[in-house]
Amino acid sequence: MTGIAVAKISELRAARAASPPAAAFVAPALMVLCAINVLPFLWSIGVSFFHFRADHLTTPPRFLGFGNYLDLITDPDIWEHFVNTGTMIGFSVSIQLVVGALLAFLFHRRFPGRRLVMMLVLAPMLLSTVAVGTFFSLFYDPTFGIVSAVVRPFTGAAYAPLGTPFSAMMSLVAADAWMWSPFVMLLLLAGLDGVPPYLLEAAEIDRASYWRRFWTVIFPAIRSVLLLALLFRTIESFNMFDLIYTITNGGPGTSTESVSTEIYDTAFVLFESGRASALGNLSVFVVIVLTRIYFRAIQLRKEAA
């Protein structure tokens, strides 16, 4: 009797020992993440305290302390880039939420041919940003562009959307919002599926107006997904690079330069690696704060479920 129990226990122990510890499961992934993401990040924290150029690897870096950071936060151009980025995020994300919501209401119900039509709407978010950017820059061309062709009969003159700072920014916003509204739609479709049908039926029986039904039944159910969409799109728009690079390249002047394109210019045009790293770290800090809120929103959603 005892012998069997002992044998059983030792068998179990052997099995435990044979299965690798938890750390072994996560270690390979964490090693890759460390090598490609974390170490370079630590390196860039180090480099941000130096004057260092990536095109002169042999020249010893010169220690500046917080010099790069002080330079950046006292540079009005940098603030302008943060303000540009913020303005673009504000416009683009609000449009995405509105258009995404309208699309979600349209596609929430099943109808014949839904899958095919939805493919048309989903395509933009799956396109290469470079292709989208380059094509939109053709649309915005004053001579050959379709925007100019539409405007010309009314004004009699060619129209250059990329000519003034504000219209250039709105042109970027249009491309970004066009690409990513379907993403918001996807999230909201999932949210709408969570609306309890019996509540909708009850509201219908009570002859509640559509507006009232929306605010009392539908909105509470999609609020948390809406928050996820808002946060995720804000973070992603903050990182916007490809569209700016291909459509305006920061112009006219520096009016549509975002934080990402500024880092690119500093690092790969001016090769001021130290300064670029410092600016990169400032934006990582912004993103960590935003991600913290996003993470909290996910956890709240899980707890509610």
Partner: protein, 291 residues
Amino acid sequence: MRDEESTPVRNQAGLGRTLVAAVVGLVYFFPVIWMILAAFKTRADALATPPKLFFTPTLEHFWASFRRVSTDGAQVFDTGLDRNFANSIFISLASVALALALGALAAYGFARLRIVGRDHFMFYILVLRMVPPITAIVPLYVLFRVTGLGGGYIAIILVYTAFNLPFVIWMLRSFLDELHQPIEEAARLDGSSELKILWRICLPQMQAGIAATAIIAFVFTWNDFLFSLLLTSVDTRTVPVAMTRVVGADVGVDWGVFAAIGTIYLLPVLLIAFFLQSQLLRGASFGTVPR
């Protein structure tokens, strides 16, 4: 995936809805249609003012995107686009496969095993996905120059693997969280190793989830521009970077060729948009919004 038949009748809309949606869909899709049309237009038609909607189609740009004839017609250049396509396919597939393998192990670790500070790990893994890619590229560029890996396949595949890993870990973990665990407990009591439980019990149950994860990671990698722009060489360059070279080529902006490349590159992604809609839905939320 939701069964169309099980949907309550009140959720069905008629042909009227189809009509409205079709109009909205076509308007929304218009920029893509315009690109596809441009791929079939002659150079004169493409740049006509006002823009032409009807024209005689030509396939010349599709040929020209692979073989370019010099302006005097005497020489034929190989544009290397076939190589770029092979690179895009190989690099995307390799990095997604690697990310899935490493990510599945890690996701299992975080979902089932005791790991101290699990939530902190999950949070910082998410942060790694969210930071602006450009901030990672500045140091990586130097790292690869110093180690001599720059421009090779290993470097770019590792970078995409690391870029996809956070997403893969989050997705697969959410699928693991939904599995029915008593079966695994039983296997564990019978002495199965954790690795065997993951391989034999968990993974077979989450094939749809793995497919969704793989597809979305593939689309990310397939379309990425920035990493490829700065971390690949002529031999390892992918299509999105090659496309921008067409725009800046010596012959000026050749919209037809650009559109032709864009159209070919778009095809796999359109198929995904048609056949895998519900998987995209799951992926949009990093797996956090279950169907």
